[in-house]
Amino acid sequence: MQQSKRWAWLKSWEALMFIILCAVVVANLRLSEHYLDLNNLANIFHLSIEKSLVVLIMAFVIINGEIDLSVASVMGLSATVLAERYDAGWPIAAGFVLALFVGVVCGLLNGLFAAYMGIPSLIVTLAGSIGYRGVARILLEDRSVGDFPSWFTSLGQDGIIGPFHITIFVFIALFILGFVILQYSVFGRYVYAIGNNRAAAEYAGINAKQVKVTIFMASGLIAALAGAFYAARLGNVRANAAEGFELDIITIVLLGGVSIFGGTGTMIGVGLSLLVVLNLRNGMSLSNVDGNTQTSVIGLLLILSVLVPNLIQILQRLVPRLFTAISRILNKGGATEPKSQVSVHQ
């Protein structure tokens, strides 16, 4: 009994992700001698730091039983607002604050329609993803705005400790914050309870609508922050900034063991899956694999990660049945000993 408890964690999703991560890291080490360069290690994170940030809040959204397809558009819109205001002569800090505010408003709209109007969030945020991107197009049309002040672009381009940018430390801080809130705070427990069974949570006195709106607003805020970082890293902004990022983000969250139906998943699992995806992409880039093929490998990993445990479950049910069937056939041959067992079944 004790032994089975001691090894129970091995069956968990986090363990599976950890094993895959080890495999990916070993494969990368063998593939390229540049993998362990400090610059490459920093690059693994820098190139997808915006997605990584949004992954954190997307975990909350999906565990809560909703989905937010509009994050990429909010990222694009926030970058666009920032750039457009800078172009109009505002100081960049003011544009940054306005961009964050716009993100929160987008999240609020999503939340109001999804939680209070009762429209499935898949539809609300689908409309949002088209609409917010549309607003970005209205603002910038087909222009490209750049030439940001150097202190702003250095946020996303220059290291502060070694080659590591400040954005990585923001990510680590937010990861720890997200971990504590999700696993150890009352609010985090509410998120799980609502995701598990909304009706039951409401009977228990949890204000599900309020929690959902809060999470959508936080999602808008983080997406806007990520959009601003994106502008800082690239140094110029077009209206199609961050297009298509939502799929990568959702894939990482689901790969982290979060159920699309809500209620299960942990921050550690999401963190591990983020490391798996980033390292996998880095390894493939180091061996010159095309970007679309990289995405399809991650898609395959996503499907397999859910399919394999399901198949094992099905096999676990089928194998004993197969055994009884075989023993029955054998018994018909005249064996007497297990006959009592068969009669029990009948």
């Binding site: 609409g131 991107r133 197009r137």
Partner: protein, 345 residues
Amino acid sequence: MHRIRRWVPLQRLREFSLVIILIIVVLIFGNQIDNYYTPRTFNRISSTVALITLVAVGQTMVVLTRNVDLSVGSIVGFTAYYVGRYVSKNEDMAPLMLAVLAMGIGAGMGLINGLLVAYGRIPAIVVTLGTMAIYRGVLVEYSDSKSVATRQLPDWIKELPQESILKFGEYELRALPAIALVAVIVFFFLLLYTSLGRRLYAIGSSPEAANLAGIRAPRMVTLAFTMCGAMAGLGGMLYLARFGTITVDAARGMELQVVAAVVVGGVNILGGSGTVIGAMLGAILIGTIEQSLIRMNINEFWKDALLGLCIIIAVTVDRILINQLTPWWSRTELQRMPEEPHAAV
């Protein structure tokens, strides 16, 4: 009044209101754009709508069973490319055989989705999010980053979008919308009047009840995905005919338009209700708005913002109207009688 309520189900009312919205939209655009009511406008809108409609019809079946297929954009892109490459090597291929080939490839891809969802027990959104990336990756590998060019195609496929089937004066029904219309009619009858169709509705309304009624849900869900894939495959061939030049990015993002059309058309994303006619009306509404905004020379960049706004308004209004109307609509004359005196007091 009760007679109307009895003979017009709520679903028909929903479609009727879509038609009214469509007429209002057309009148507004007609007011704003010079020369709007011309055959040229009609043809341009109808060939855009045809593509979305065809794929939306397949998507409707999947959505009816409480699933969603996000990989249709990649299926359309892959079949468009594969068929284009194939027909440029075998120029004497019969058009019908080519359509069968396209639908076969699409159906194969849909079958993979369906098997994974129904027998692998993976949520549809996870499967199709994955296969969307995989099919696109397969296309990129297969294409070797070369594109299909219009000049490589045989003449009949280039002329297909200009072919007219029926003519009413200057207004003509061209081949693409005609194919889409045939698909809508076929699937309309398939869904409403065959046991296959009713079983799809049953699974979407209540999986447990459908199971107790002896419906083999996994088999039906697989079938729905396969048919959706086949329609997307046919859509791919028409995409090839319409655009001619196919790059690896063909039809990227089309899934969003298709899901939007289905949802605006009143098909419940939670399964069990909605019709193909609704999906077609949704596609027409979205296609009309999109194409007309391109014509409107004030600012073409307003297109997406207005489209998003339209979807959310359509869904919200639909929600409110249906919620308000359902009790009133389903109340019969007999139930109403005893309440009258109280109301008078």
